[in-house]
Amino acid sequence: MSMYGTMRAELVGAGGVVERNAYLTRRYIWWDLAWFAWTVANTLTIVFIAKGIEATGGSLNVNETMTTLLIGAVVWAYLGILFMFLMETVSWERWEGTIEYTFMAPLSRAMHLAGQGVFAILYGLVRATFLFVVCAFVFFDLSMPNADYFAAFVVLVVSSISFIGIGVMMSVLPLISPEKGPQLGFVAQGTLLVVSGVYYPVEVLPQWMQWIATISPATYALDGIREAILEGQGLTAMWDEIWPLLIIGAVSIPLGLWIFSRGEQYAKKHGKLKRSG
């Protein structure tokens, strides 16, 4: 098969994975709505903190603090969706009992994971947008007169490349440990965000955490989105956030694929590629 033919075959296969995820999401659409309601509730508990501080005599710009917290909560939820879909590359298939067949299919692992990742991004972006709109304008009527939503959206999309790379690294865990691996995805999500200033400026963190923040894509994603929403900065002023995201993405994607391939080799050597582990 020519290189063009191989590439085309791979892309069609990845498209098939995206399509299958779409079918599955469609199958569970009402449960997804219930879960979305939970995410909204969870986000509200965080955003209300600003109002609580004001009510107990604290002095702060309530609108700005609520928006800052909301952005943190939305990014947290978005990252959760990306990691969940990538972790499900193994854990969901194991639960369904389809894992052996998926790993036997004539599709490169890179394209298999790309299919998972692309759907996760598309689904996550739609969900994050709804979450932001519902919380900002339905519940709180927040004022964002200068917001550049397009720039914020682009930063989120660019950061997704890095997030997918890290998610691919995490998705190997259920392959190595069928029982406990999936939970470690939450550990990675929490660790990534805690050093990245999810609800506070990175400057309040201890020095060693601030150093880690410089290599976390979430730091640049949160900074960029906040600058776009709160300060109205456009894409041209956002290069300081975008180039580190591109570099981290360029490193994390191949690194993630390499780690996943090592995990797959381990699973095939030790017989872990089956439903019951």
């Binding site: 098939g16 052996e100 790993f103 004539p106 080799q265 095939k268 050597k269 017989g271």
Partner: protein, 327 residues
């Protein structure tokens, strides 16, 4: 002679399996000093399967059958030895190899439970790069052969075990694999459904000249489909040859089922009575004496019906395993 479709030489697979005594103390101890035991799942097997051949791969649970099939499908790495399928090394996951094989496991599924089978078929079309016209032709042909036209639109979770197996088989064959590994494809199915699946496998092989390797605990599957069997136990091959030769090689006796005009009297003078059902008596006789004893029975008794048979294949295989234990 053309190249073997499946070539296996001195193939081995060992696993390090953790083990410990029962109890909290042993559990705590195992945290710092974990003991493992080497288990030889497949222990130096060698065989060739010619293109278009259908071979029964038999053995009790834990014999190494599924491990072998997984190594041949590229799902497990070999510990040592050589495995080639259609000239490819399975563990390399070459696209041309993966597009030409299929593994059907009776206790696993490739179709998503929550989706109608038709949706999963579409995924296979994308992944296996099947041109739409070919896909539709093969899909409809298989659906017709297995008579499942009304099942493929329902979510797989709503199908019975037998129905699910049929749609699973369609999903596995959409890309028209040249080598088919069938691991217990009729497990848990009723007799009618087993027969249907057997007929289908035979028809598929006939139409497409596929090479088939079949494991099954149902000897009816093996007898109906396979001329050759490979018997494996504890990861080693105990027998590889014609199914008919298995009985004559291993079992030193035959059975004579005889019904007499005047009811079943004492026939112990002719052989060991192993079964009695009304007027029908089944005798076990030494293979070398079968002709002489049959002639005697016909001459001395008023015989209504008489049937000389090799022992049931289940008994023969049991005998193979028993011999291995003795050795």
């Amino acid at each position: 002679m053309s190249e073997a479709a499946v070539h296996v030489a001195d193939l081995r697979k060992t696993f390090d399996v953790p083990e410990r005594e029962a109890g909290l103390r042993a559990a705590t101890k195992s945290l710092v000093r974990r003991k493992t035991k080497e288990v030889r799942a497949v222990d130096g097997i060698t065989f060739d399967i010619a293109p278009g051949e259908i071979v029964g791969f038999l053995g009790p649970n834990g014999a190494g059958k599924t491990t072998t099939l997984k190594m041949l499908s590229g799902l497990l790495y070999t510990t040592s030895g050589k495995a080639r399928v259609l000239g490819h090394v399975p563990s390399k996951r070459e696209r041309e190899f993966l597009r030409r094989i299929s593994l059907v496991m009776g206790n696993r599924n490739q179709l998503q439970w929550d989706l109608p089978a038709l949706d999963s078929f579409e995924l296979n079309r994308s992944i296996y790069q099947i041109p739409r016209d070919d896909f539709l032709a093969t899909r409809d042909e298989l659906i017709e052969l297995l008579e499942i036209g009304d099942l493929v639109r329902k979510p797989v979770r709503q199908l019975s075990l037998g129905e699910r197996m049929k749609v699973e088989i369609v999903g596995s064959l959409l890309h028209r694999p040249q080598v088919l590994f069938l691991d217990e494809p009729t497990i848990g199915l009723d007799v009618t459904m087993q027969k249907r699946i057997r007929e289908f496998v035979a028809a598929y092989r006939e139409r497409h000249g596929a090479t088939v390797m079949l494991t099954s605990h149902y000897m009816a599957d093996v007898e109906a489909l396979c001329e050759r069997v490979i018997v494996i136990h504890h990861g080693r091959i105990l027998f590889d040859g014609d199914l008919a030769a298995l009985a004559s090689t291993v079992a030193a006796w035959k059975t004579i089922a005889v019904a007499l005009e005047n009811g079943a009297g004492d026939l112990s003078a002719y052989g060991e009575v192993i079964h009695r059902d009304g007027d029908l008596v089944t005798l076990r006789v030494p293979k070398a004496d079968t002709a002489r004893l049959t002639a005697r029975l016909l001459a001395e008794q008023e015989v209504l019906d008489l049937n000389v048979e090799d022992p049931p294949i289940e008994d023969v295989i049991e005998l193979v395993f028993a011999r291995e234990i003795e050795e």
